[in-house]
Subunit: 218 residues, 4 copies
Amino acid sequence: MTQDLFNSLIAAQKTKTEKQKKIIEIAIKLFADKGFANTSTAEIAKLAKVSEGTIFKHYGTKDKLLLSIILPFVKDSLPTMATEVFSEVLTEDTKTFEQFLTGFLKNRIEFFDRNKEIFRVFVKEIIYKDELKKEIAPHFIKNISLQISRVVEEFKLRGELKDKPTDQVLIYLMTVCGSFFVSRFVLFENYSISDEEVENFVHFVMDGIRNPLSEVSS
Amino acid sequence: MTQDLFNSLIAAQKTKTEKQKKIIEIAIKLFADKGFANTSTAEIAKLAKVSEGTIFKHYGTKDKLLLSIILPFVKDSLPTMATEVFSEVLTEDTKTFEQFLTGFLKNRIEFFDRNKEIFRVFVKEIIYKDELKKEIAPHFIKNISLQISRVVEEFKLRGELKDKPTDQVLIYLMTVCGSFFVSRFVLFENYSISDEEVENFVHFVMDGIRNPLSEVSS
Amino acid sequence: MTQDLFNSLIAAQKTKTEKQKKIIEIAIKLFADKGFANTSTAEIAKLAKVSEGTIFKHYGTKDKLLLSIILPFVKDSLPTMATEVFSEVLTEDTKTFEQFLTGFLKNRIEFFDRNKEIFRVFVKEIIYKDELKKEIAPHFIKNISLQISRVVEEFKLRGELKDKPTDQVLIYLMTVCGSFFVSRFVLFENYSISDEEVENFVHFVMDGIRNPLSEVSS
Amino acid sequence: MTQDLFNSLIAAQKTKTEKQKKIIEIAIKLFADKGFANTSTAEIAKLAKVSEGTIFKHYGTKDKLLLSIILPFVKDSLPTMATEVFSEVLTEDTKTFEQFLTGFLKNRIEFFDRNKEIFRVFVKEIIYKDELKKEIAPHFIKNISLQISRVVEEFKLRGELKDKPTDQVLIYLMTVCGSFFVSRFVLFENYSISDEEVENFVHFVMDGIRNPLSEVSS
DNA sequence: AATGAATGAGGGTTCATTCAT
DNA sequence: AATGAATGAACCCTCATTCAT
């Protein structure tokens, strides 16, 4: 079982005070809810029942506070997670790419569901902070896409997937899955995803929307 | 030819002064670039070569300035556009859904390309402003999805599309296309989309990534 | 007559508001009294009966406020003054260096007396701000010492002054006069200097403290 | 040989811990460099490798920390020093006031050189702290001037010095020597004073800048 | 219609100081 | 004796907004 990212984050800085934990907890909540720029340190302090000074004692800057939320999420945990994901999802029992994709999505849904708020913070801020967009996002994408591309190639060999350039397949998968997560977790905030929905989604990704009996099929 | 949205916006409030136009122009640029919360009215005033007073004389509030950018984009222009789009894209010559989808994407790409910055403002702010998310987005979505669903049903009847619930197909299409636009126009800012890329994309949407010769095909 | 430096400073930035004048006036007073670091912008605002925002609207930064007090004092006014001083003090009637020195000191005393507080600010801050010490002080010193050295050389030629290297004489004069001003205006704040004191001082500078009849005289 | 003031200061409070010594050492350095108001206790603590608590445990207040640096310098050490100075400098070999003054300056130069930083702190803070200016400076001045005035009077009797009021001579000497030390040790920080410079300086103090052969001599 | 000086609430941040351990 | 987490007042500064001109 993948360990809880949230806890790993909380534990990142050794011997974190109760107050520090509370600050991070509240900050995540507020950043996720109202966005970084619209959240004041005063508000965080108040809700965390901490003086404003304490926040700055520990995190130095509002920006660093944000980073100390996002960085562990991306740098430490995600890669680790990624490996685990594939070892969990890609077992001998995984006979088809369809199985893999379904497993992958369900695994990530469960993961993002558990870390829903940090994910929201991450998505919302990546739009604004160039340092995030230009340094961290690629790091993040490369790591994931590398893993997936191996799976794609494996199943291309096995003949289940079309013999299209792996790049193209990958971009399509990333676009489609990324959007799946973002729309479900960030846009429609309190939306819970059913197994059925996942399966429908996977079906479309695998076979498209065209009627295979249609003579116009390419 | 679809009229330029930007101009329609500019013209919305009749007899707009040169100063007003300049304010809107600069505001769009800055909001798109740095986000609403990170842009100060002082900066807008300075770049628009206008006094701060003038901005507030015309728009009353920074929030109202934002709305006076986004609302025309959504309320006035998009629906009009929508109709035009379909009348342009869905002619007698449109023999297949694939043709339609390709035409639709190309048309929208050209449109968003022309209104790239307002689109960026819109996407960035819809995440934060509940009034946008809860009132305008649905308005927007309903309008578009209504039109598309008619097309989908038409081509289901003609047998080109699978006989899946229209809702499901629609959600898939919206997710996939939305993501296509957002990732290309908002995330990767200076990205230009080739015809080839569109065609590859359409291909995957239509037929998925599975090798049709694979015996596991459902 | 030398124009009032204070007024020239006040007039430096054309069309200064009443509030701006008041800010500068109060800031000079407080900086002179308690020092720059110990004066808060809030206090300046309060005493100047102005909102804190106004201060920053006009001067941008507390540091720039300080500079906008000191720079005009040093850069614009002092050089001008310097020329005037010498043209006033060094007339055909100036028969001796002693006369010159007495005139110079009295002129400067009157000047510093009128600009006592800015002088205090200047002296107090030059100790801390490296930019002042390294850029402005030399500018200041060079300007003055150049003028004085010419006078010294003139009177060396006339035989009134010893045939010592001009540098040495200059350094002594600057040290001694600088100290005279600083001790009287900065250290003992409300001290007024009598003509008699000036004359005694000049006497010592000219002839030293040794009894000329003493046979040990070098 | 005069004992090192620094050590005497360090030893003042008996059984000073290593940490206490380190605190004082760093505080002197920082106060001398950046001034009292611009130095934070946090910085002292960090550089002294001590917790902030420790500083306040020992010194109660940042102000008291300053005093515990300056007071020993003025109250304990200077008077002692003073006596020593005079007993060292004013021996039977001291035939002339010129000799005495040269000896005195060299002795003080050596002393201030060794305690350069405390001297800097003292000079910088005496400008701001009224308690220093009004209580300690006079104490300091009285002590020194008392001693010097005795020497001056002695040499007036011996006929080497002019028969001017001792007060006047004293003020001149204090002004001139004070300035000599302050300009060399506080203003030009890393300046080392040559014997030659001292002798030139003494020469001017003794005999002034006027050419004795000049008929205008008073 | 347009200006720009002025505002004051609030923002992020610093800092001397306290106190439980 | 020493720590360092915590405090909260004060600090410098920003900003949307107002208003007299």
